[in-house]
């Protein structure tokens, strides 16, 4: 039995291998990480702001998002996460969660004790670098999101978000122009600083223009070129050379 095919953390290793060179020993060290598997239902909180971090969480199945709540009850979604990604890498180093993480749909996660991960990073420079690249790419995506909500109009914002998510799903082997897309319109609105009504109208216009189809939790990209143009999208910021 090859661990690389069957182990819960295999998708993480496969994703890391795209940007970092991991040796057989590095991979074995990841496979030897202790972790607890947990499931979360739709909308459940995986991590709460202010929580003392004792684990780092890898998403194994399902989708999740980071968010912050405002005092007036508003919510801003800061990023979406797909399987094989860490949803809270920063907590491993910074200690206290500075935002919430919520499940989009039913999620399965692996919770790795914080010290186990920091020890692994201290012992194995290649893994330190892989974790580092993850955090740098996360930051690059956040920068793009600041631009998206700060300076793009509503149609461009939504098209940009759809480009980003479909490309990330494609590059991690989760479909090809047809993707599971369990996000609600309300969540898309909270990710783009729009209202749900406005988001709905924008999605309909993208549909009418033959760029996408979105129904029953499935996104189909019909015209990738047209969608990237509508979204002012340039994949450079994802730093995923393939």
């Amino acid at each position: 039995m090859r661990l690389l095919d069957t182990h819960d953390l295999s998708p993480l290793i496969r994703r890391w291998s795209k940007h970092s060179e991991l040796s057989a020993q590095d991979r074995d060290a990841v496979f030897a990480l202790p972790f607890i598997k947990r499931s979360f239902g739709k909308d459940a909180y995986i991590i709460r702001e202010g929580q003392e971090a004792t684990e780092c969480t890898v998403l194994l199945k399902g989708f999740a998002f980071r968010q912050k709540l405002l005092r007036d009850g508003g919510r801003q979604i800061i990023s979406f996460h797909i399987p094989s990604e860490f949803v809270d890498l920063q907590n491993g180093v910074l200690g206290v969660a500075d935002h919430n993480v919520q499940a989009v749909n039913r999620c399965e996660v692996a919770m790795v004790p914080r010290e186990a991960l920091t020890d692994l990073m201290a012992d194995r420079p290649a893994i330190r670098l892989a974790v580092w690249l993850d955090t740098l790419i996360d930051a690059s995506i956040f920068r793009e999101w600041v631009v998206n909500v700060g300076r793009r109009d509503s149609r461009t914002r939504i098209a940009h978000l759809l480009c980003e998510l479909s490309l990330r799903l494609k590059k991690t082997g989760h479909g090809d122009d047809r993707y599971d897309f369990p996000m609600t319109q309300e969540q898309l609105a909270d990710a783009t600083g729009l209202t749900a009504v406005h988001t709905n109208r924008t999605l309909q216009s993208l549909r009418r223009d033959g760029l996408i189809e979105l129904s029953n939790g499935i996104l189909r990209v019909l015209d990738w070129q047209g969608l990237t143009e509508s979204g002012d999208f340039d994949e450079l910021y994802l730093h995923q050379q393939i």
Partner: protein, 251 residues
């Protein structure tokens, strides 16, 4: 803003030691990093989007900002860099720069060869950890900026950015008493908050009329810190700096 007799990388050291003291040996290695000092004018580009940088640049003194320009030519400022910030740490490991960095003020910049810094952070775990902490805090600040432009009104956005600036400058011993120099034009503040400069002007006047700030040229003075935080829906948690984390040591 730099202390007399200070080492050009002194502000960088203070930043690295914000979360934990470094061993003497590591400190020596940081201060001994090869570097070339340059003095550049306000408006100069340090990094351009699409560049493949061979140097990492440290702001010895002065201020800079990160920015991206959208397809239709509007600009979004993503972060303000203050003295001691390495302006392109991400380029140490990412090969292509995904945004531009431009100076706000005339500044001294130290160019450190990329390989020298890479080697240091990969061979000295304590320095590696300190730099990872900095990049994570930077990411945390970016998350807060997504919230700021995504879901706050104009007055909150501006008050929030003023609070952030005050805390960051103070943590490095660069703020005055209840105030600080804000080296940004109203247009730049607008580009940082997703507003128009006319709107920013109106908000600043409103904050002044309400007694939350007073302005003398670019100096912002606040007498009631609690009220300003309240106006900006500001909580310092995302900066990961406690009120005791001020480092004012000279190297």
């Amino acid at each position: 803003m730099t202390r007399s007799q200070d080492h050009p990388l002194g502000n960088l050291m203070r930043q690295l030691e914000l979360y934990s003291k470094l061993p003497d040996e590591d400190r020596r290695l940081v201060l001994n990093l090869p570097h070339r000092l340059r003095r550049l004018d306000a408006g100069s580009y340090l990094v351009r989007e699409g560049d493949k940088p061979t140097q990492c640049m440290v702001l010895v003194d002065g201020f800079a900002f990160r920015q991206k320009v959208t397809g239709d030519g509007s600009r979004q400022i993503l972060a303000v860099c203050i003295p001691g910030d390495a302006v392109d740490l991400q380029n140490m490991f990412l090969d292509v720069s995904d945004h531009s960095v431009q100076l706000l003020t005339q500044s001294h910049v130290a160019d450190v060869p990329r390989e020298a810094l890479q080697e240091l952070v990969l061979t000295q775990p304590a320095i590696g950890t300190a730099i990872i902490q900095l990049t994570l805090v930077e990411a945390s600040i970016l998350r807060e900026w997504v919230v700021n432009v995504g879901r706050r009104d104009a007055r909150e956005r501006i008050a929030h950015i003023l609070c952030e600036f005050a805390v960051r400058l103070e943590s490095r011993g660069l703020a005055g008493d209840h105030g600080f120099e804000l080296p940004m034009t109203q247009e730049q503040l607008a580009d940082a908050t997703g507003l128009t400069s006319v709107h920013v002007n109106r908000v600043l006047k409103g904050l002044e009329a309400d007694g939350l700030i007073s302005r003398k040229r670019r100096y912002i003075h606040y007498s009631n810190w609690r009220a300003l935080q309240d106006a900006g829906d500001f909580s310092r948690r995302y900066l990961h700096i406690s009120e005791h984390d001020t480092i004012a040591q000279t190297y």
